[in-house]
């Protein structure tokens, strides 16, 4: 049992900076679970090591890489400061439970959509996050009967111009209104293809 608690404490020192700071501040009283005295000494020793911070940097890099590589449009739209703030909040609420990119990125999209429903206001974010989530969802590995036939994303602004500006590294400006729908499908080779429709009906 103590091995389990010890490993949980070491892992938490790496992934949870608030816990690490609490251990630094109040010592062993911050530790949970049953630890032997040598395990307590070891936790108290590594919490002061610079190597713990280096390990945390690697952990952050592991998580950041997943989001950076899979959500380029969301990343560009949010910009570095807002992105860092939202990722920080996401990580506080959601520990990493997988080394797979898509699951983590889809969870981050869901987190942002929840933030939007709670009052976060960033123009175009709802459409961009919904589009990138749908794109990832189509690429996500599944058991055969569960493979989605398509994903539908509604836009109120021209997605072509919006995407173009974001891909060029610009913050969207003067994107014209355009009520339309993007429909994504997966072909037999597993490739995702999107097409634009001016229709907005569910029966596309």
């Amino acid at each position: 049992m103590t091995q389990r608690a010890f490993q949980a404490a070491v892992a938490r020192l790496v992934v949870d900076p608030a816990f690490r700071d609490r251990v630094r501040a109040i010592g062993a009283a911050a530790l949970e679970g049953e630890l032997t005295s040598i395990e307590q000494q070891r936790v108290m020793s590594i919490v002061g090591e610079k190597g713990l911070d280096a390990t945390r940097t690697l952990h952050k890099s592991f998580r950041l890489t997943k989001l950076y590589s899979t959500l380029p449009l969301t990343r560009q739209l949010l910009g570095p400061n807002r992105l860092a703030k939202e990722i920080g909040s996401f990580w506080e609420a959601t520990p990493s439970d997988s080394h797979y990119f898509l699951d983590e990125s889809i969870a981050f999209c869901d987190f942002l959509r929840k933030r939007l429903r709670s009052g976060l206001r960033i123009k175009h974010l709802e459409e961009i996050v919904t589009y990138e989530r749908a794109n990832l969802n189509l690429r996500r590995a599944r058991i055969e009967p569960e493979v989605p036939k398509r994903e539908i994303v509604r836009f109120r602004y021209d997605p072509i111009i919006l995407f173009e500006q974001l891909v060029k590294g610009k913050h969207p400006r003067a994107v014209p209104e355009r009520t339309c729908t993007m429909i994504g499908r997966v072909n037999k080779e597993g490739e995702v293809h999107w097409r634009l429709s001016e229709k907005v009906s569910d029966k596309l």
Partner: protein, 309 residues
């Protein structure tokens, strides 16, 4: 049909001398397809060929059909060994038997000459669930850790009839008052469990640089007859630490370690160069070929006399 491997009688059960290996990365595929003569075998990370939906899911592992087809084509040309990242063999809260079963299924299909994973814990209990740190966290070099690992390694050995190797870990912090040195711990682990070693010389170099230790003290204490595979790689200095980033060519210190170790590993099956695919554009084809050629030259120079010619 897969590439043939030669089995030598005086090696660990079924561990052939393969030669120079390259870690497969998708970004390296054009290189691998065009430069097949520059390496003798490939090492693949099987976890990148499937998606793991998590413990107790059924089915849990969904294989990427396109990636599997690529793997099938590669295996027709060169031997392939597995180097997994998903077992987290040191996790105290659970032993992932489903992962072992998945590797065993791949063995039935691929008949790989050996397979390996990392001597570390990556997944730990976290509240009511668990957390995947994404970093190989060190186990204390204590009897208690041996008690955890030995039956697990033995179980893997009983399920997959090929040598199972564990890789010496890279770590950025050290636990005080450990009962054994790292080398003594590895010797004990191999002796008691029947596993072999994947000696990562770049990990050793990284640890020695970051903790001001002498790599040769470690190597002199280590039972090198347990080493079946060696890794070399390059890294970078960041934030006060040298990082095992697999980001470039191997530094001189790693080549010196390889030169020292090669004639002392009687059961060595191969030396693998690891390069993260995203760094290939910086390293380039010529320098990658040069790394592999240099390993080849050293490999051939240190083969037992009976193997030369």
């Amino acid at each position: 049909m897969s590439a043939q491997v030669v089995i030598e009688g005086n090696q660990p059960p079924f561990a052939p001398r393969l030669g120079v290996g390259l870690l497969y990365q998708e970004e390296l595929r054009p290189f691998i397809e065009c430069q097949k003569s520059s390496f003798d075998f490939l090492e693949v990370i099987p976890d990148l060929f499937w998606t793991d939906l998590g413990p107790n899911q059924s089915p849990r592992y969904i294989e990427n059909r396109q990636a599997m087809e690529i793997l099938r084509q590669l295996q027709a040309d060169v031997p392939i060994v597995l180097h997994s990242i998903g077992l987290s063999i040191g996790s105290a809260h659970r032993f992932d038997r489903e992962h072992v079963s998945q590797i065993a299924r791949w063995y039935e299909r691929m008949k790989f000459p050996w397979h390996s994973d990392h001597l570390a814990f990556i997944v730990a209990a976290h509240g009511a669930g668990e957390v995947n740190v994404g970093v190989t966290l060190p186990l204390p070099y204590d009897e208690e850790s041996l008690d955890l690992l030995v039956p697990r390694v033995s179980e893997i050995g009983s399920r997959i009839p090929r040598p199972f190797l564990l890789e010496n870990n890279v770590y950025f912090f050290k636990y005080p008052d450990q009962e054994l040195t790292e080398a003594a711990f590895l010797n004990q682990l191999c002796e008691r469990s029947g596993c072999y070693l994947l000696l990562d010389l770049h990990n050793l170099y990284t640890n020695s640089r970051n903790h001001a230790a002498d790599s040769y003290v470690f190597l002199n204490e280590l039972n090198l007859s347990n080493v079946v595979e060696i890794h070399i790689a390059g890294g970078l200095q960041h934030d006060g630490f040298y990082q095992d980033a697999h980001s470039g060519i191997s530094p001189d210190g790693v080549w010196e370690l390889l030169e020292w170790v090669l004639p002392r590993c009687p059961n060595l099956g191969g030396v693998v160069f690891e390069l993260l695919g995203s760094w290939y554009v910086d390293v380039g084809e010529d320098r990658l070929i040069a790394q592999l050629s240099r390993i080849k030259e050293m490999w051939l120079r240190h083969q037992p006399a009976s193997q030369q010619g």
